[in-house]
């Protein structure tokens, strides 16, 4: 129970880590998710499980995590501040830890107005910074936000956060990461990287501040499945930058899907060269079957073993 997560141990052994992503379905039948998880088994260390992403009701992240643990796989449970107050977040953290979840990714969450329950009441009792800090204090100081003590120490949990170098104000984004690290983030996953030049500029700031030595930075990579998908991300997803040249490159390719994979592989290869990038987080939602190929062609297969 007290062993660190595999993801944390990967980083500790100095390996370049790979995580995947699973999007829970709108049903209690998890066969497809389990199937996708199985396909990626030997290619990723751990799986992010999204928490009602884009405010669309789906099976809970913790529910899917229980399935992964049964399968002998390692979840990264995403926890957003949108739907749960501090009582529920702290209680869910304990509940998930009780059956072996070690990795928690604390994030703000997309606003509820985007989803399929747009009349919902957005909670936002805590913000992501406070949630990160809350998890750290539960683990390190044995206290809840309100000051009560945990009855038993929380076993080793590995606290994650997100970082978005593509959001504004750009000059503040490295400082924001510093703040998350100070709050307790041990690893961060970034927004999907399409504008790698901007990512590199951000990493420069991050290195100047020495943050890469304090937190494991995983670059977010999403293979582009179609021109339409790229355009959608370019125009409709705030906090994303999809350069026009990239869209033109895919558009001009003979086999657009192959090109999308090629771009993802090139991105990962470039990320591996950047000082301070400790891993990649591959988000191939609705294209999960490509993850093994992407990981393999990026030179990251077979995955190293850690004890």
């Amino acid at each position: 129970m007290n062993q660190k997560s595999k993801l944390e141990r990967m980083f500790e052994s100095g390996h370049f880590a790979v995580s995947g992503e699973l999007g829970p379905p709108k049903s209690a039948d998890l066969e497809t998710v389990r199937h996708h998880a199985e396909d990626m088994r030997d290619y990723v260390e751990a799986y992010n499980i999204t928490d009602n992403q884009t405010a669309i009701v789906r099976t809970s992240s913790i529910g899917v995590a229980a399935n992964l643990i049964q399968m002998g796989l390692e979840p990264i449970v995403q926890m957003t501040c949108r739907d749960r107050n501090r009582i529920c977040l702290q209680s869910d953290l304990l509940g998930a830890a009780s059956f072996g979840v070690k990795n928690f990714l604390c994030l703000q969450g997309d606003h509820g107005i985007f989803g399929n329950e747009s009349g919902t009441k957005n909670v936002f009792d805590l913000d992501s910074m406070q949630l990160i800090n809350c998890a750290k204090k539960m683990r390190d100081d044995n206290v809840f936000i309100g000051g009560d003590e945990l009855e038993h120490p929380l076993p080793n949990i590995f606290i994650g956060a997100v970082a978005n170098p593509f959001a504004d104000p750009f000059e503040y984004r490295a400082l924001r990461l510093a703040k998350k690290v100070a709050a307790g983030a041990q690893f961060v996953q970034t927004q999907c990287i399409f504008d790698i030049d901007r990512f590199e500029r951000w990493m420069e700031e991050v290195r100047k501040m020495g943050l890469h030595k304090k937190v494991k930075i995983m670059g977010g990579v999403t293979p582009i499945k179609s021109v339409g998908a790229a355009r959608y991300m370019q125009n409709n997803v705030s906090g994303m930058i999809v350069p026009e040249e990239l869209i033109q490159r895919i558009k001009g390719a003979e086999d657009r899907k192959k090109e999308g994979i090629k771009v993802a592989v090139e991105t990962i290869q470039r990320l591996r060269e950047i000082e301070g990038v400790a891993g990649v987080h591959v988000m191939a939602i609705a294209w999960e079957e490509m993850v093994p190929e992407i990981v393999d062609r990026s030179g990251l297969y077979p995955r190293p073993k850690v004890d």
């Binding site: 501040c81 949108r82 501090r86 703000q108 969450g109 997309d110 606003h111 107005i113 985007f114 957005n122 936002f124 009792d125 805590l126 913000d127 992501s128 910074m129 406070q130 800090n133 809350c134 936000i145 997100v162 970082a163 978005n164 593509f166 959001a167 504004d168 104000p169 503040y172 400082l175 924001r176 510093a178 703040k179 100070a182 709050a183 927004q191 705030s238 906090g239």
Partner: protein, 232 residues
Amino acid sequence: MIVGERKPLAEIAEMLKPFSKICILGCGTCVTVCLTGGEKEAEETAAALTLWGQKEGKNWDISTGTILRQCEYEYIDEYTKDWPQYDVILSLACGVGVQTMNTRLPEKIILPGLNTTFMGYPLEQGVWTENCLGCGNCVLDLTLGICPITRCSKSMLNGPCGGSQEGKCEISSEVECAWQLIYDRLTQKQLAGRMDEIQPPKDWSTSHHGGPRTMVREDVRVEPEEQTRTDV
């Protein structure tokens, strides 16, 4: 000020159906200034309802009036001294006014003609914007006058989320990102370093989350026997 929007005429007509003698009562303060519930709007609403009634075969007897502040007994009492016999009052005040009227005039039926929307100010002619949620624990000192609780769509206290782009909030290109504004403001005053401090979880108990709030000022309170309140 308190900002409201008039309810759709169809909704008002539906709630007035069971009645015949109606008073449409404007309020002379906030909702007059935001052009939704003053004397003029009371008259406009009366005219529109009369037309509606004619079309739908409803013979309403509609009068109008205005109270300077429907949220204070003093003004209500002054106005209702010679209060005529209406079946119903359609109040164009905010929810505070409607409820104060109800409390003061329990024998009457008072219905809301507005949806009370927010506390805010006129941004420009014809545009009002929300800027205070009344959370009971003001943080405008930290941000130099831009409320993150109200103006950040996620009420974040520790800086911008990942959805902030080109000064706009992720929820809409029409909404400014409060944290971009705060960042710019603090930078301008060479205080951006403030954003590095972790703001702890907010105590929401001072807000409505602590239950309906009452403020008591013992220093200005009147002895119980002197009180004129009827609802205690």
